[in-house]
Symmetry: C2
Subunit: 478 residues, 2 copies
């Protein structure tokens, strides 16, 4: 036996057991009797998700059988049918479709970009940005002017005329939360073409929004704002490695000519839907907690982490309530929002109708930050309710949900913002998110089953606590 | 501008900015002036690792140019040469090899396993367990008896005679820390053959140690203990999916015959080395903090998460100290331990020599839990020092290092345990770890660059704090 213990110790087993014992003790000692009840329900959500969860197979179906589903596409419409069917299968009290007209931008033919230095032609991984216009059919060729930000482009002003403006601002990799790095860069993607158009630039190419150096162009939205149509110029993303190389090549060959061609276009708005389902509240059926993600995605990958995971997280909240026989006091409404990526029309329409129908939303929870391992929640609420949510930290910490921060919630629940509404965004680990974001690599195989399931349980736990402790008797202001 | 803000809000940027602001404020307000100095050093470690880190390229080289490196193999010896060269390149004050004789088990030919039900032959993904004996050259065929644990096998006793015993205990997936689930199961892998041999079983097959259902056999150590050699029986792992299928098939066909063949053998011990390097302490050069991982790995994959990441984490601690011009007060010693996987000979020899030479180890930090996103540290120390390490929580939390738990440290620093020595294990997120553990899928591409780099910085930060706040003037007991 002694020999066995020595050997097993070497295998690290005793390590795990010792840690387990302490964790359990610390946990149960510090809870009130009411919190112990909550703790049991939360544990049940996690147990159910991790042993009988449906989210992973739902996600496989959505991503691999439907795939990328840009607003207005046939795939997006298939996803609506899929979502409605699945909500009914989960047994929600009622399920309906909420019509909404969505932008209908199409990518067209595979984009092409290249340039030649020292007699060597270099192909560049490229993709059009969403809402961009096409280049002329033969493409655009021009000298390149490199800048690091929209502000720098504005300063260069008339120097931009007839040039292709190359936005090469890189993520600040020292920021631990990679969404902050995205926030620091994405302005050039969104506004680069709008700003350069007025100075007569021919086109815009933007370094892809990612932490790493990879070979994939990362697409995403851009906008022309209110500039006149004759100032519209085409905008495309190039891979971060191509951006690094182009920057180097420009130092030695400042007059090199860059070529790109894209045939994207914006068609007339198309009819689509938010998919909505709910479990009626037993005590306050008129008070609504909305839980959602977005059903549309970019076209390049399978829309797995963005935002297939948010869709299956949200539906699994309802599944976990039902499976554990938890009847919400307030109405639990699941929404698969349409068109988050390029227009937010679904979210706006949902909020418009909520107001029109005098619905009383008391809370909203969104998952649109990927399906990685749980880290916490971001709270957008009044001070009292913010403190209340933060007070749940010891119930959530055993599941890795340590970060209960004040901040935004999500783009789709955001339009419901009101002093009486507690909005929350689920925040999983962000380190890998921008490896896949808006690229062809955002596929099912990048999602880990346990991490996904723990996300569902994290969200169910928060909604359980919101349902129990957080609601207002005040009606939403008309 | 209003339109721009609305649109950018939809992109989630304002979310990120709001969160950033709050995080920074909370952080700096709650620190003493001394802690602010520490906080700056820690931030510098992370900044350097995330922008100038070497760990990812080192890992690529170790895993892809050398690959799997089982003790006694030519690859393990290449890894020793690689490690010594790299330590010198990083500029450690001295680098040396510590000779140690290691077990030399070889897998032999690719293993084969199958069985036939209803006329259909089913091939089973299989691999021999480390230290197992071979089957006879023509393999073993026998009826199967399924059990879920070593205890159950003991109870079945003489029923096991002439059977192949199928250990089908599965991970408890409700355990959030997957190492606990491993701890609950691995006894059947380690001790199954030892226990069944004495009852005259012909062989043992074990369900792979993993959370999921996959098609890879996961290898690992087993041991025959002190049973007589004539009771040795061969032991192999089969994939978790094959285990599920076999269990089902046995219900309908309890007399089915299972076949497996393996040609592994244990050769005479082979010479090898721990690779050791150090930066001399400026104030207490005789007080040693050891930081390490293990250089050997199983043969099936590339030994990326187990434990290539621990190796490059450890060396990057020294690199980050040098790059930031931090001179440790105590001696910082980096050790690449040999033979953690099947024998722990390197760790035992290191500890034996430390005692023999009356070396004064004040601390040890090990990374052998993979290279995933940082979660915390496990502390194995006396009460005073445990509380001290836990008091650093607010310095570490901004980097996701929330879990400062009491428990084990690691198999390689474990033999240094003494009341005066503070031992710590780095604990990254565990959700994905057993997807790859001891299989052909433990390869470089499973490691995320930022997660790896943050691990190095996490460890450098802990060693910086240990160096500053934690040492004893008492010599280690002879």
């Amino acid at each position: 036996m002694k020999q066995l213990i020595t050997l097993i110790s070497a295998l690290g087993i005793l390590v795990a057991c010792a840690e387990k014992k302490e964790q359990a003790t610390t946990h149960s000692n510090s809870l009130s009797s009411e919190e112990k009840i909550d703790s049991t329900h939360i544990k049940n959500f996690f147990n159910t998700a991790l042993t009988q969860g449906k989210s992973y197979e739902w996600l496989r179906d959505l991503t691999q059988n439907i795939g990328g589903r840009l607003s207005g596409s046939p795939e997006a419409e298939k996803a609506v049918v899929w979502g409605e069917k699945l909500m009914k299968e989960v047994g929600l009290d009622s399920v309906w479709l909420q019509p909404v007209m969505v932008p209908h931008w199409v990518r067209g033919e595979k984009e092409v970009a290249n340039y030649t230095v020292n007699g060597v032609k270099k192909d560049v991984p490229v993709c059009a940005l969403g809402f961009s216009i096409a280049t002329p059919a033969k493409g655009i060729t021009s000298e390149v002017i490199e800048v690091k930000s929209v502000e720098e482009a504005e300063k260069r002003g008339n120097e931009l005329k007839d040039k292709i403006v190359f936005f090469n601002g890189a993520f600040d990799n020292t920021l631990i939360n990679t969404f902050e790095a995205y926030g620091g860069c994405v302005g050039q993607r969104f506004s680069g073409a709008r700003v350069c158009g007025k100075y007569g630039a021919k086109g815009v190419i933007v370094r892809s929004m990612t932490n790493g150096i990879d070979d994939y162009p990362h697409t995403g939205s851009m906008g022309y704002g209110d500039i006149p149509k004759n100032e519209y110029i085409p905008a495309a993303a190039i891979s971060s490695r191509a951006a690094e190389n182009l920057s180097k090549d420009l130092k030695e060959n400042p007059n090199l000519k860059f070529y790109f061609k894209q045939s994207c276009e914006t068609l007339p708005d198309a009819p689509s839907f938010n998919v909505v389902g709910e479990i009626k509240g037993s005590e306050n059926p008129d008070k609504i907690m909305v839980v959602g993600g977005h059903l549309d995605s970019w076209d390049l990958g399978e829309g797995a982490h963005d935002d297939g995971t948010g869709i299956v997280h949200s539906l699994e909240v309802a599944y976990l309530f039902k499976k554990n026989n938890i009847q919400p006091k307030n109405t639990l409404r699941i929404v698969f929002f349409m068109n988050e990526e390029n227009g937010l029309r679904g979210a706006k329409e949902y909020a418009r109708l909520a107001k029109l129908n005098n619905e009383n939303h008391i809370g909203g929870l969104e998952s649109d930050s990927g399906g990685h391992t749980p880290r916490g929640f971001s709270i957008d609420a009044n001070e009292k309710n913010t403190l209340l949510v933060k007070s749940w930290n010891k119930l959530l910490a055993p599941y890795g949900l340590h970060d209960l921060t004040t901040g935004g919630s999500g783009a789709d629940v955001g339009p419901l913002k009101d002093d009486h509404v507690t909005l929350v965004g689920y925040r999983p680990d962000s380190q890998r998110y921008f490896d896949y974001h808006h690229t062809e690599t955002d596929t099912f195989d990048k999602v880990n089953k346990r991490e996904l399931e723990m996300g569902s349980a994290s969200m169910a736990s928060l909604i359980y606590l919101m349902d129990k402790y957080l609601y207002t008797k005040e009606p939403i202001k008309p």
